[in-house]
Symmetry: C2
DNA sequence: ATACTTGTTCGTAAATTACCGAACAAATGT
DNA sequence: ACATTTGTTCGGTAATTTACGAACAAGTAT
């Protein structure tokens, strides 16, 4: 896992983000959060046909990748996009997707 | 794996692409191919510190996800971006990344 | 015909991912 | 105090991923 040569830091960061995005449930959550500002995992749990524990894991993964952040609010948890890292990811992907014009 | 509800086809397709992009080596290859038109896997093999067979697997995965295509040319294989699917992925990601403005 | 180059496939091992239900922790309501 | 709601963590299992070297197939060169 230590390709110090050839492979750039950007590529590694992008791969990390992409990996987190590499599951339908996680894309669903990300898209939801990128549209509306926040959501509670309870609502997600109602909509998605998976166990609470499974959803929790997916959310953890998005959090570990830095794409979202959770905030405890009473007994619930409110999830939002992690704006800084989201901006970073955006930037990376935009650059990457526009590369043919360079 | 059959979330017929809630999760859209777009989200599933994007997750598929993202998954394929979720490894540093594959991002490296994709970025290379998106800049220059094509490359031979031999050159990749020279640059990347992984076994030929491992590289071959990564290339297969990018191919299975539809992001690249390979063409046999003599004893070598020439790899290019799969333009149609690339355009599709581009479109999907662009839409996704610009969602906050909607 | 034989050797070499090139890249895929096979077999295998180790690590990671995905999923579930049960158990748990923490806050809220009664 | 006790029950309820909410969400995470734990334990376990099955599937997938990542990696390697060896074996193989196919084309090229001698």
């Amino acid at each position: 896992m230590n390709y110090k040569s050839v492979i750039s830091e950007k590529q590694k960061r992008m791969a990390r983000f992409a990996k987190a995005m590499g599951h339908p449930v996680r894309m669903y959550v990300l898209e939801l959060l990128s549209k509306q500002s926040c959501c509670y995992s309870g609502n997600l749990s109602d909509d998605l046909p998976i166990a609470k524990s499974t959803l929790s894991q997916h959310l953890k993964e998005l959090k570990d990748a830095g794409l979202i952040q959770g905030e405890i609010e009473g007994p619930k948890v409110k999830y939002c996009i992690n704006k800084d890292n989201w901006a970073d990811a955006r930037e990376l992907f935009m650059q990457f997707l526009n590369q043919e014009n360079q």
